[in-house]
Amino acid sequence: MSEPVLRLTDVSRVHGTGAAEVHALRGVSLAAYAGELVAIMGPSGSGKSSLLTIAGGLDSPTSGSVEVAGQDLDEAGISGRAKLRRTSVGYVFQDFNLIPALTAAENVALPLELDGAGRRAAQKAARAALDEVGLDGFADRFPDEMSGGQRQRIAIARAIVGDRRLILADEPTGALDTETGEDILRLIRARCDAGAAGVLVTHEPRYASWADRVIYVRDGLVVDEAGETPDAALAEEVEA
């Protein structure tokens, strides 16, 4: 049976110590399968971004384990995690996290170049990804010469460039109008339909409804889930 692309098992994350302790996550388990988009909803401060940064190997859990594409992130070590981030994981940050001194195309090409792709090949892939998000003609502009929605699209292009198996998107629709937000969701959904696994953090029910499953988080815990569990996951439970 197919393995999930992302699996979190009993993940907790505690920030600080003693009186200042914050339990951002308190034992979260979830899986995302290839072809599936999972939405995560919950109030501000409930742990959504914490969950996503841990899933993307940008932060490590205090306890519990994380597997991406069959690889345990703890065992992968710092360099293994960095490689996974460059090659398998596309991350859309809550703030776009673009590098102001680089053009749109350079921003998108960056993960490929860091992974050792030649400059020309990386630029070509970057321009193709920018086309895909509707930014053809903007490749050589700098982020501060573009609107918020256009910057957000650069961030999406950077997350989907080079066939990522796992797309993690933290509020990718930010303060966009509904039409532009829908366009962004359409792009993420298309990647999942093409075989990636996606996890989307959003406050907006309309965007969550693009997902196959919606997971509700409160105070660092998964409290509820709506939607269809994929067949692969059901089969696995039967096997277990």
């Binding site: 029910p205 309309r206 409804s209 709506a226 939607g227």
Partner: protein
């Protein structure tokens, strides 16, 4: 509301009853099916009120209806006036939650969660309809959007209810603060 006004507006050119019904359903994305009986009853009332009149027959001999001058004025008035924000007659969900809060044996949080899941599933259903092309024509798309926005509003309201409930529960179980907040350590 006004199936009456919608039908009148669609008589901007003469039509026969069956055609009018098909036109209504097509324009509104078949979200509110009308039976042909309803259409003819409405037409005869409109005729009685002087808003439509017989407009001859078409090539196949079907009787056409057309707007009178009063009918045209009525249509114009309809479009020129915003729809009244009527108090919803009885909003079952609001009543259910209000009563649930008052009945101690009911787990209100669960009522909220179940409703939210059901509404999210409806929203996912609209999404599937939209993705399968149901909203590709402009009028049908606008109607589908309306359903999406309404479901979205309901889910937001349920989220809001949940956090109000949690706040209320927290303040009723929390011990009386001895000191002002932030100075307790």
């Amino acid at each position: 509301m006004s199936v009456k006004h919608a039908l009148l507006a669609l008589l901007e050119k003469p039509r026969y009853g069956y055609e009018l019904r098909a036109e209504f359903e097509q324009r509104t994305g078949a979200s509110w099916p009308l039976n042909v009986g309803q259409v003819y009853t409405t037409l005869s009332r409109l005729e009685r009120d002087g808003l439509v009149e017989a407009g001859g027959t078409d090539a196949e001999g079907r009787s056409l209806y057309q707007l009178t001058e009063a009918g045209q004025a009525e249509v114009k008035g309809w479009f020129d006036t915003p729809v009244e924000r009527t108090q919803p007659q009885r909003d079952e969900l609001a009543i259910k939650l209000a009563v649930a809060v008052a009945v101690p044996s009911v787990d209100v949080g669960k009522v909220v969660q179940q409703q939210r899941n059901a509404t999210m599933q409806a929203l996912q259903g609209y999404r599937r309809q939209a993705r399968s092309g149901a909203g590709d024509d402009l009028p049908g798309g606008l109607v589908l959007d309306r359903l999406v926005f309404a479901a979205e509003a309901e889910i937001r309201w349920l989220d809001h209810c949940e956090s109000r409930l949690r706040r209320a529960a927290a303040s009723s179980t929390a011990p009386e603060p001895v000191q002002p907040e932030g100075e307790s350590r």
